[in-house]
């Protein structure tokens, strides 16, 4: 139902000091992964918020955002993930996922185990369908949120603000999310995530300052970084399963 989103266009506005922001137009197509980079306070969250609200020169940045390709209804086209989000509901994982699926018009219960399996492939500690959702660890919650957004929310646009929880297979998480032509826009300080993105928007003083494509050299670097990240993950698993760390794998 939401698979027909094609593009997001952001028309540049002004930065925090009131100057015209250098980037006047940002086009994002289905399947794109875009990173927003820049120091804290540089305007990453504000850009995400402008996109979420489909700003019409009516936010402090005066940007205009157009989302094309959908058939009128804006409801449910944008899903969000952030470090500040928690599960607060007193229910088991299975019951909650069933309830969420049903609110999205999905009645087949197979999706519940698909979400749990996907979440478990992203993080180390397995989640059980009968676990109470509020008792999950940080990593488990994060991976369940990602799997849920990938399979149940099924929104064509996913906005992610600073989700860099240790112990989650980031590459795989982003791959899962960007399936089916979703647009992923992710504010991040993590070099691995920034380089997984096809392009990155450099933010400065609240404005979009430059757009850089991830080049071949960086893609090579990404392979090294991924290998390094895998080694850190393996080491983490070794340590938390009670073994002594002898060799850096």
């Amino acid at each position: 139902m939401n698979d027909n989103i094609s593009t997001i266009t952001v028309m540049g506005g002004r930065n925090k000091i009131g100057e015209e922001e250098p980037i006047r137009r940002l086009e994002i197509k289905g399947g794109d992964i875009i990173a927003l980079v820049g120091p804290t306070g540089s305007g990453k969250s504000m850009l995400l918020s402008d996109i979420e609200q489909e700003a019409e020169s009516d936010t402090p940045s005066r940007r205009r955002v157009f989302i094309s390709g959908n058939n009128g209804s804006k409801e449910g086209i944008i899903a969000q993930l952030s470090q500040t989000m928690n599960f607060i509901i007193d229910m088991t994982v299975g019951d909650f996922l069933k309830m969420h699926a049903s609110s999205r018009g999905i009645e087949e219960t197979a999706v519940v185990s698909e979400v749990i399996n996907l979440a478990n492939s992203l993080a180390g500690e397995p989640i059980n369908m009968l676990d109470n959702i509020t008792t999950l660890s940080g990593g488990q919650s994060r991976s369940l949120m990602i799997a849920d957004v990938a399979l149940i929310s099924n929104s064509p646009i996913v906005l992610i603000d600073e989700i860099e929880s240790g112990g989650i297979n980031k590459l795989k998480a982003l791959e899962m999310l960007s399936l089916k032509g979703k647009i992923i826009i992710i504010a991040s300080h993590d070099p691995l995530i920034i380089l997984i993105a096809d392009r990155r928007v450099v933010m400065k003083d609240g404005g979009m300052c430059r757009i850089l494509e991830t080049d071949e050299k960086e893609k090579e670097l990404l392979r090294d970084l991924t290998a390094l990240d895998n080694r850190i993950s393996a080491l983490r698993d070794t340590l938390r399963s009670g073994n002594a760390a002898r060799v850096c794998v």
């Binding site: 607060i88 509901i89 949120m145």
Partner: protein, 228 residues
């Protein structure tokens, strides 16, 4: 004059949302007067005054705040008129979190928050079911999944309402709310207008100051639980 009522459970973010929204209204050149109804004590009057607008705070004290609210709506409107306001906003929590009745023909906004749990929409009754606009707050701290379920449950209780997500801390979403308020229809007087729901009846000895427990002290409209 636009007359807008804003209701919702305590701590749902009514004042925070309104402060962002009123700031946008003032930027557009609107003149806003606020009436704040509370029970015992509130600092919200000062929060509104910092916007430089006229505010009247009414504390219902020993009375039901919803009855008090209805009895003072015209007085709040008169104050707003005296201040040449273009918009009057009345904010109230109500006491039992369900009445705070909306006025027919005047824009009614309910504010509820994601943290209050997904059964809240069906618990709070007319505040939600008769509202024109439902503002949902605190969406930045619960999972996307819970936001979606909460929104769906809200829509089931009030399918007609426009549902807006607003962040009371950052003000995200408040411009949409400002546009809705600016587009509300005008009213001259509240006299003879109807409430959209009636208030719960409660006339018993405890309403008049009785403090003792026991059947012999319970006079008037007393209802007992069945099958005990």
């Amino acid at each position: 004059m636009k007359f807008v009522t804003v209701a919702g459970p305590p701590s749902s973010g009514k004042t925070a949302v309104l402060i962002h929204t009123i700031r946008h209204l003032l930027e557009d050149g609107q003149k806003v007067t606020v009436g704040k109804i509370d029970c015992l004590e509130t600092d919200d009057g000062d929060r509104y005054r910092k916007l430089g607008i006229p505010v009247i705070v009414g504390l219902s004290e020993d009375l039901c705040p919803d009855h008090y609210y209805v009895s003072n709506l015209e007085e709040i409107l008169a104050l707003a008129k005296a201040n040449n306001a273009s918009i009057t906003i009345v904010e109230t929590a109500g006491l039992c979190h369900r009445c705070a009745p909306a006025v027919a023909g005047c824009l009614s906004i309910a504010v509820i928050d994601n943290m209050s749990g997904i059964d809240t929409p069906k618990k709070i009754g007319p505040v939600l079911s008769t509202a024109d606009v439902v503002v949902i707050t605190k969406g930045d701290i619960v999972s996307q999944a819970e936001r979606e379920v909460f929104r769906e449950k809200t829509g089931l209780i009030n399918p007609e309402a426009e549902i807006l997500e607003v962040n009371g801390l950052t003000g995200k979403g408040s411009i949409r709310l400002k546009n809705i308020i600016a587009g509300a229809s005008n009213v001259d007087t509240l006299a003879n207008k109807d409430l959209r729901s009636s208030l719960p009846a409660c006339i018993c000895s405890y309403c008049t100051g009785e403090t003792r427990i026991g059947n012999s002290f319970q006079l008037g409209h007393v209802v007992k639980m069945e099958s005990i």
